[in-house]
């Protein structure tokens, strides 16, 4: 079996003449955690929407298990989406449904399950995995930010996907909750053998959990490799990104120093 589950080649996407992706090329290894780092507006979310077929690129190829997503027909896209879970930045839980109904949603609507006992068992198992065994009856509005992300992950995992896409999984969470989400991603990857593709600007988390780290800048992957190698990269844009992320006010401080001088 090919070790690359998702192979993206020379992907281009623009909106209203403005290029967002300008030749993204990256291979995602099976059963590994890949983190794509990048500033806001670097094209990370657009990349995900292209992967799952919600948007079509102008140029390039996306091979999922050897089949080109770009050329897939509707039925093939539906079949592919059954293999892919998606955790949205704000979890995107359906607020008119309870947590349990949210987790059951893809089972009923995507897989066509009708056996209530089987659905309840799967929902219960997923909520156990993400650490929300008692929250099935609650509505999303009753959950904290971290709990919503966990519930969103339970929904993304419900269909036993081969790959889960995480859109900024720790954004807006405090460091303790962020760490717990990182641990959860590791658990999902190691215990369930799910390939995890994460887009984030959380450098600490990236180097902590990733098997592969990539740096997306202005629509291109500028650096990629194992965390240790990437951390020592001499790529000037990536070094600047690391510096700014470590000290976000660097530019302002520098300006202040100049001003004082």
């Amino acid at each position: 079996m090919n070790n690359t589950i998702l192979d993206i080649r020379n992907l281009h996407k623009s909106f209203g003449g403005q290029a967002v992706l300008r030749g993204v090329t990256i291979g995602i290894e099976r059963k590994k955690i890949t983190v794509i780092l990048g500033k806001s507006g670097a094209g990370k979310s657009v990349l995900f929407k292209n992967i799952i077929g919600l948007q079509r690129p102008e140029q390039g190829e996306i091979f999922y298990e050897g089949r080109d997503v770009v050329k897939m027909r509707e039925q093939e896209l539906i079949a592919m989406r059954r293999d892919i879970g998606y955790l949205f930045q704000e979890a995107a839980l359906f607020d008119s449904l309870t947590v349990a109904e949210n987790v059951a949603f893809p089972l009923v609507e995507m897989l066509g399950w009708r056996d209530r006992a089987k659905i309840a068992a799967q929902v219960s198992e997923m909520l156990d995995i993400v650490g929300l065994p008692e929250s099935g009856h609650k509505y999303p509005a009753e959950l904290s930010g971290g709990m919503r992300k966990r519930a969103g992950l339970a929904r993304a995992l419900a269909t036993n996907p081969k790959i889960v896409l995480f859109d900024e999984p720790t954004t807006g969470l405090d460091p303790i909750l962020s760490a717990s989400i990182d641990e959860l991603i590791l658990k999902v990857n190691r215990q369930l053998g799910v390939t995890c593709l994460i887009i984030s600007h959380d450098i600490q988390a990236a180097f902590h959990i990733a098997d592969t780290v990539a740096f997306l800048h202005e629509g291109r992957i500028e650096v990629q490799g194992p965390p240790v190698a990437v951390r020592q990269s001499e790529h000037p844009l990536f070094k600047l990104f690391l510096e700014q992320a470590t000290c976000p006010d660097m530019e302002r401080i520098k300006r202040g120093e100049n001003h004082d001088a």
Partner: protein
């Protein structure tokens, strides 16, 4: 000048998007699964939960109509025709239009706001990633429910409007009850009632499609949802009135002129 061109372009673009939305909805309308439970849920939300507001408004309209018309008709000694006038007017025009306008205020706005909120909080995108069409899951059940519920509530409005009218004309204004009812039975034709019910079903389709369209095209957070909801209410209301004229013309030609 450029601003006028930009506004025209924007409206043309919206019309084009609505046409595509309409085609997509028709494409999904007869595809499985049919989601009977969702259809029944929406029938309850749109229908059962609107019983009070439709009852109150139709009784009130019937009473006001009767009060005004009895006064005018009495000048010509024709006050016993109030029942007939009420039955025909309510059946053909007042009940379907009033019911549609009340349901726009209560349900059309709620549909646009709910779907708009789902859009801006990525719930719609989440649905798409799970290979579920938002049109199939969100629009089609509402549309089917509306086609049944709008005529049902219009039928109720017909009955309650006439009851309100009877109360004012007979009990308060002293019109002879037997003559009131006799004129009502003689002049009101079943065609008057079912032409109104046909209109109601069409209004249900218009309101649901317009409200869902604006909901699903909402952008830019809470402000965008507010703008979409306003557009949904205004466009639905105007569309219902324009459609009412066109339908009246068609139905009069089909049911009365050729009869």
């Amino acid at each position: 000048m450029f601003r006028i061109v930009a506004v025209i372009n924007e409206h043309l673009a919206t019309t084009g998007k609505f046409a595509l939305f309409l085609v997509a909805t028709l494409g999904w309308l007869f595809r499985r699964p049919f989601r009977l439970r969702l259809i029944l849920d929406h029938m309850e939300k749109i229908g059962v939960n609107s019983l009070l507001i439709i009852s109150l408004s139709s009784i009130t309209v019937g009473m006001i109509f009767s009060l005004q018309v009895t006064y005018i008709m009495r000048i010509f000694r024709g006050e016993t025709f109030v029942g007939a006038m009420m039955g025909i007017t309510m059946g053909r025009e007042l009940a379907p239009v009033m019911t549609a306008l009340m349901l726009i205020a209560k349900n059309g706005s709620a549909m646009a706001a709910e779907l708009g909120t789902m859009k801006v909080t990525e719930q719609i995108a989440a649905m798409e990633t799970m290979a579920v069409s938002p049109i199939h899951y969100l629009v089609v059940p509402r549309l089917i429910a509306s086609v049944f519920v709008y005529p049902a509530l219009t039928g109720l409005a017909n009955i309650l409007g006439v009851i309100g009218s009877y109360f004012v004309a007979v009990v308060l204004e002293g019109v002879d009850a037997a003559r009131y009812l006799d004129r009502l039975y003689f002049w009101v034709d079943p065609k008057d009632v079912y032409s109104g019910l046909i209109k109601a079903a069409v209004f249900g389709v218009i309101v649901t499609l317009v409200s869902c369209f604006y909901g699903l095209t909402a952008r830019q957070g809470a402000k965008g949802v507010g703008i979409s909801t306003t557009k949904a209410v205004v466009t639905s209301s105007v569309s219902v009135l324009v459609a009412d004229y066109i339908l009246s013309d068609i139905l009069i030609t089909l049911l009365y002129k050729n009869a």
